[in-house]
Symmetry: D2
Subunit: 153 residues, 4 copies
């Protein structure tokens, strides 16, 4: 039985990506670090869908975000030209940081390839110190992802 | 006070790497997934030092290894041309898998940039199923890294 | 006035690609080597359209191809999330090698970003020596791209 | 007989680089676009040796350079962990642009792996238009590379 968190049913947002030739390693499978790129590309599409990306592009509003943690579990292999479904959701929001859950499934077979969690912090452009997430950020996420856990102190 | 695991003193093996231009992202810092490459490059040097790489190169002896988990915490920034010290050690060995601890420190400032843990599984070339780690693998690691935890069942 | 070869009108095959975050460098523009990846990804889609990719994926029929030359001219900048149209065509076929022309245009502005030429050689899997291109390869390309120049000796 | 330009004897500056695991493709050889990165990494070391990099790092003096052309010929293969010697020199200087020649040789075998030429333009940070190369740039290059051709109009 598949863990609950490893089912696409728990995700609303899907982004489809195809494994490119240069992303495959000498063992003939998608290289392990490439999934970090896939998570990120999907995450930025998610952020667009939620309304978090300003019209002139990321960072154009002076809001800077840095990744503070990446974790990823490899549960299967992907090969050149495989079509992958990358699922994303914001799972929690703290004072200045928030977390994403990701899941990647092979479109054809339905097999789980990887899953992961990413933690991101809102940072002040000048001081590079963490900064409170604004209220409208939380509202937008709540609207899109009602199950998000608000863990503010 | 720095966590014990975040001190270079806990590591015997060091590999020095310099941040390349194409590894820096649009925020001017080393891109988050690049550290996964650094861990890997350092790990293969570690494996050489331990005597785990066959003379004709990785996989030439039919022993295949896949990563099953990557985790990484970002604690600082690295910039173009920064010299980084990548510390590695095998921290535990199970039946068919084993784990690495990694730490990356800026050579000039001594600041911790990232730390991470990687779990790797020994896999049969044909079946792609996990496979018992051979006894000489364990001996070689013990010789090089006496503190390794043997967690065999 | 734009050079003839720099107009999308000279191309039949178009592949659309979006600039990803990790493909942007510290100057805020798509990194120069990334376009080589875009050419390649588009080229493999082109080869599919022409009928050159075997059903089980590239190389599964034992036909190996290596790049012998890449050239690329940078005529504009692309930024994160820009949608790019990558145009490709096989322009000539020699005994064992053939050439591609590529052009990349910003979808929104119509501006030419880069153009390039790639030469590829058909190689024997075992000897790694160049090998005559089979007749059906030439026929398939001629069918798809009637303007291709056949330069066989 | 090897072409004159394909001999390391024609180069004064050498930078040594080792092929990393993630730089190898599914054919088991160093991926074609990776050599563009190697050229660049070597070129920035060359620029340091010539005295062209400001003490606080590239671009810190407001001088921006963009690549306008890359060309590369593949003459051999490199594999994981191969040690490569990357040779670089500035071959010509025009009004606002200048050109590099590169050559990569396998350290062990002495075989030429790739050669290439890169053209770079000096650009104004604000207007992104080409800008005359300053006189001290030319002097520094001439001092380091007496054979450089000055092609100013």
């Amino acid at each position: 039985m598949v863990e609950n968190s490893l089912s696409p049913k728990n995700f609303k947002h899907k982004y489809t990506i195809t494994v490119r030739f240069h992303e495959v390693d000498m063992l003939g499978v998608c290289y392990n670090a490439v999934y970090i790129n896939y998570f990120e590309t999907a995450r930025l599409e998610y952020a667009k869908a939620v309304g978090l990306i300003p019209p002139k592009g990321i960072f154009s509003d002076g809001k800077i975000f840095f990744i503070v943690r990446n974790e990823i579990n490899y549960r299967g292999f992907a090969h050149h030209d495989d079509v992958l479904e990358v699922y994303s959701k914001i799972s929690f929001i703290k004072n200045s940081s928030f977390g994403y859950d990701h899941l990647i499934v092979n479109q054809k077979s339905g097999n789980v390839i990887v899953d992961g969690k990413v933690v991101i912090v809102h940072v002040d452009l000048k001081t590079r110190k963490s900064r409170l997430l604004p209220e409208d950020f939380i509202q937008k996420v709540k609207n899109f992802e009602p199950s998000v856990k608000i863990l503010r102190e």
